[in-house]
Symmetry: C2
Subunit: 427 residues, 2 copies
């Protein structure tokens, strides 16, 4: 069975590993990047606490010894379901089974100004770009004697009070407190403001009431200006316009306020559900197709426990991948279709970290909540366990120990590329 | 005394550190990058053995506790010697003493085609670009069924048999041997050719006869095609044209065949000497100026021991910086000018590494030569000592241990930036 998987995120990679060296399967894993990205730690790359390489794992290394998993670095251009074929910017591939695991990208809700001027953080490279921008900001602030411009440079606005927004706000507040005044003694960091804007009435709205309240308390303790019930209308690169009619002058806006599924070309548009996702049945099969599946952030699935659709989280993607691998093995063996299992999400809990010794953890069964130092330890241990590769795990750990002891993130490096990406013709 | 230093390489940084917190001095250190680059290990960044951050050290961290050293990230545009002022792309700075430590850049000898299509490696970012290109090459090779194009993708040409050329050729040969066939099982690496082209009749021509011979032997043992007495005429991105009239088809050319001083605008052009350098006296003072100095790769100085000019090496730059710091202190104290010391280079030896357990070391006094494993240990120990920062030293060491044990360089990651460098107006 020829299985083509599009996307090597938590879902796609897990599926490829489950089918690795399994008889009867030929797997082609396709991604835009040559590495798996550990998304939960993007914010630490952006704030110079971790190296991009620490949270990235070369795909080819995962499958070095594989007999049946092949890898291609290319962009999907179109699916031709009637021909069981996909077209990419480099090659065409035939499939028996196609699995879409293209994930989700930042949603600017159609606002082009916003998309042009604010910084998303949905890839390692985007996290690096935020890091470079932040450092460049303070460098440029030195040459500025206009007070209004200076204040604009010193204001950072984060939009979206979910885990990403909370985590990067907290990390920035700690940089402001511990590092930036030492690095830039000529600047007055009492003028630096970190705004966290959230449309709902609380941060971490998807978590427990206690976690929401605690995260807001922690953020305020670190000096973040948390503005709930605050919607952004527009951003022209100079001022953030709020729905209320007020403005916040800010040269840098980090947009973490929404995601939308990356729907590939060639799929029946009527399947598009809430959040720009593709509607699947409980076998992850796309409605109306018999050999195209969607898993992870791209998939919209309703289950008895989640009648309004599953949350877009890494554990959902990974559990769906595991289920799909099992079901594909049944199909390959031509077992009775009734043997196939239906998906239900086992929620093992959720967590977010705000800063040193500050995190919140919710566990659903038994219903438990932790905050503070203990939650922070759990958060670190779990993330270390989930990172791919012994060496990455060691290097993340060492960076954390170093950062914790020295109150310093010392990766404050601007590696900006010059223009040089010409490949010779025909390559 | 206001000292403005242009460039934070081995020379400029050493000088700033020598003047750090010294009474009577106000130092402004200016660089294009916000970090010091450890040039000797660029080749390991290019071949995915080290992270760019491992060999880069944030300048602001070095001077966090300094009372008198300030840092600016900007580009020098012009020197106005009559006004004791420099103009940059951001600010203007007045000086009592100006020290030019702008180093040297790649010399393509005026050949624009060559400059446009081949890869230089004189900065960390350029080393990263080589890494990205090499990895992308093999990814693209998969989608190619034209045999001629495939061979072109599999040929890598390195021009210049000095330490840089030798070291990167060796590292590439080891990648070909240990890693690439595992990463790309669909490609036939017996077709991959690594050519090292050198115009002179031997590699490492500046070192001892023994080192030259041994390095060539090591390279050949690793499978590098060493072509001495071979001059490059041109390169159009497809084929390397040799002076002999022959061609080598190659999609990738790494150019390590020459450097030239980075001469700033505003300096008397008649001072330009061999290698596009600025002629100085033995106090590093530019001829015809009384307060502009040049040190390191940019300076051309003749001494009794080096009547044809000093070599362009890190130790020369660092020794000149130390001497200049001492002399500036004498000037600041208004001591008798005759007390100032004249520069002479103390050559402590030179070395180059070719691969695992393979290096060559020359020591001039007493005249000694080492090769093989022992030389390789010396090379590693010395480079570890010279790297700035305890954390960088630890991480380089751990990477080396990992690479040595596993025969693997696992930083095979393509972090290519998208276009997003717009700063808001006025910043």
């Amino acid at each position: 069975m020829k299985v083509v998987i599009i996307g090597a995120g938590f879902g796609g990679l897990r599926l490829a590993r489950k089918l690795n060296n399994k008889p009867g399967f030929e797997v082609m894993l396709i991604d835009r990047f040559n590495y798996h990205q550990f998304q939960p730690l993007f914010y630490q790359v952006a704030t110079a606490g971790l190296d991009a390489s620490n949270i990235s794992f070369p795909l080819r290394k995962v499958f070095q010894k594989s007999k049946n998993v092949r890898i291609r670095l290319c962009n999907l251009e179109e699916i031709l379901p009637t021909e069981n074929k996909i077209i990419t910017d480099k090659e065409e591939f035939n499939y028996d089974v196609l699995v879409l695991a293209t994930g989700a990208d930042t949603n600017f809700f159609g606002n082009k100004e916003l998309a042009a001027h604010s910084f998303p953080m949905k890839s390692t490279v985007e996290a690096l770009q935020i890091r470079h921008r932040l450092l460049q900001l303070f460098e440029n602030a030195h040459s500025n004697d206009n007070e209004e411009t200076l204040q604009r440079l010193m204001n950072i606005v984060i939009v979206g009070g979910g885990p990403t927004g909370v985590e990067i706000s907290g990390a920035l507040a700690e940089m402001k407190k511990y590092i930036l005044p030492k690095d830039y003694p000529e600047l007055d960091f009492s003028k630096m403001n970190i705004y966290l804007l959230e449309g709902a009435d609380k941060t971490l709205a998807a978590m427990s009431e206690k976690s929401s309240m605690q995260s807001e308390k922690y953020l305020k303790k670190l000096g973040v200006e948390v503005l709930t019930n605050t919607m952004v209308k527009d951003y022209d690169g100079q001022n953030v316009a709020l729905q209320s009619g007020k403005y916040i002058p800010a040269a840098t806006v980090i947009w973490a306020a929404g995601i939308k599924g990356n729907i590939p070309n060639g799929i029946d548009k009527s399947l598009i559900a809430k959040g720009n996702r593709l509607k699947t049945d409980r076998h992850c099969l796309l409605h109306g197709y018999n050999n195209i599946y969607a898993i992870g952030d791209l998939a919209y699935m309703e289950t008895p426990d989640f009648q309004n659709g599953l949350p877009q989280l890494a554990p959902v993607a990974m559990q769906q991948a595991a289920l799909l691998a099992d079901n594909l093995k049944l199909i390959e063996r031509k077992s009775n279709p009734s043997k196939q299992i239906e998906f239900e999400y086992r929620d093992k809990g959720s967590m977010a970290t705000v800063g040193r010794n500050l995190a919140v953890v919710d566990i659903p069964k038994p219903k438990l909540h932790f905050g503070g130092f203990f939650a922070w330890l759990i958060w670190m241990g779990l993330h270390l366990m989930l990172i791919l590769g012994v060496k990455n795990r060691l290097f993340v750990f060492l960076n954390w120990v170093y950062n914790y002891i020295t109150y310093d993130q010392n990766l404050r490096l601007i590696f900006k590329e010059f223009n040089r990406d010409d490949m010779p013709k025909g390559a």
